[in-house]
Amino acid sequence: MDIRGKSCIAGIYEHPTRKAPDRSLAQLHAEVASGALADAGLSFSDVDSFYCAGDAPGLGGMSMAEYMGLKLRHIDTTETGGSSYVIHVNHAAAMIAAGKTDVALITLAGRPRSEGQATGTAPRIYDHNAPDVGFEAPYGPTVVNMYAMAAMRHMHEFGTTSEQLAWIKVAASTHAQYNEHAMLRDVVTVEDVVNSPMIADPLHRLDCCVISDGGGAIVMTTPEIAKSLGKPIVKYLGGGETIKHLDAGNVDLTYTGARHSGAAAFEEAKVKHADIKYASIYDSFTITVLETIEDLGFCEKGQGGKFVSDGNLISGVGKLPFNTDGGGLCNNHPANRGGMTKVLEAVRQVRGEAHPKVQVPNCNIALAHGTGGSIGTRMGSATVILGQEDA
């Protein structure tokens, strides 16, 4: 079934908080849901499907559906870490096209900063029954050193440098200066990045994303309902998703699942790379962006370092404006999951509602990509392509 153009994103909301000691997790979910519905001109009573992931408190979506008083005919609690919400957009698009839901609500929220999590540097066992855990956890895998091993291998095979990775942070910080809510608004240089403390070779502190509280939500609906609501139309054009893993020991850390999810999204959307005016790329670390850009096909494998250099990701300067909200590297990373905010900024760009200093002119087609789990082991990768009404 062709689902291109058969659903729209009608409402979005990003919580302005970056530290929320005064709110509960459930409250954050409800506030972002309410905000996205208000943006669409809808309310809790209009929602007939709910999508959430492991950050939602309670079993699956049950407690939050009850909190918000939702009356549902479809639910989806697909969990792939930070990419879950991009997958939720894909699944909601399919279900709207199939007539199984008319108004889909997707939420994300978390407060790791208030809870004092050492998100990136402390090894921990998430699930004692995970079959990999006994053969990995004892060795001290953390979020940072696992992504670092991908970077180390990419450098070894392709000659990628720390300075090239640093350009990704430079671009994000250039955008973040215009975002009043961003945690880090100072524009940094390549030297600032490579001279920041080494966390896990070869990744420096400024190669890493922020830890923040907050959240976001998306409302999707049919094209007919979307047109009745009066907001600029943001059409779903295509998507893709996959899980990439260590393949029984056939390990290759130089590419991500974006190779598969991106190809599927481009095919479904019937667009070419040159058509993409803006891209939200999950930026847990600079290396995440570099590998993803290659895997999505914006440049050849191994050429990502050259591609991201010299401001090529800066809006108004380079060929591929990315993460114009400042991304995870500078703006926020609520619940340690960045897929939601990637979609939100892509929607703003297509609507023409990004900050004027970073808005891409005539942004009729945009892409958002999420990476969940770890590019150093196993990841859920998801891509979505969005467009204006005539795209």
Binding site: T121, F135, A137, M149, I199, G249, V251
Partner: protein, 128 residues
């Protein structure tokens, strides 16, 4: 320097044979008997055939470093790595008994064991 403290591996009915051998400082590698392919991590059901017949066979305990990273932001820095075994699979481990600045991708390494307690010993790798 190894890690200051190791997380102990959860041992279950599927992996007990591997850990029992490790306790005796023997390094086993899972092998699918139908395809003849070694695989990692240890499991009984073959991802190649779907059959519950994976065997844990003695490994040479030698390989080369595929990638690594030295965790600096911790009380006791340690080197996490992927090592490609001579049998084929690439596995997660720590590189020990070396100045971390000397670790290189492609360097030859061999297995050594760290006794955690009476229950388990952990296979690590050191320069060959």
């Amino acid at each position: 320097m190894p890690q200051a403290e190791y997380i102990h591996p959860p041992i279950n009915p599927e992996t007990k044979e591997f850990w029992d051998a490790a306790k005796e400082h023997k390094f086993l590698v899972p092998k699918c008997p139908d395809t003849g392919k070694h695989l990692w991590f240890p499991r009984r059901v073959s991802p190649f055939t779907g059959k519950t017949n994976v065997e844990y066979v003695p490994g040479k305990g030698t390989g080369v470093v595929y990638s690594y990273s030295v965790m600096r932001r911790t009380a006791s820095p340690y080197c996490i790595a992927y090592v490609t075994l001579d049998e084929g699979p690439t596995i997660m481990t720590n590189i020990v008994n070396i100045d971390y600045d000397e670790v290189k991708i492609g360097m030859k390494v061999k297995v050594t064991f760290k006794d955690l307690n009476d229950e388990a010993a952990l296979p690590l790798f050191e320069p060959a």
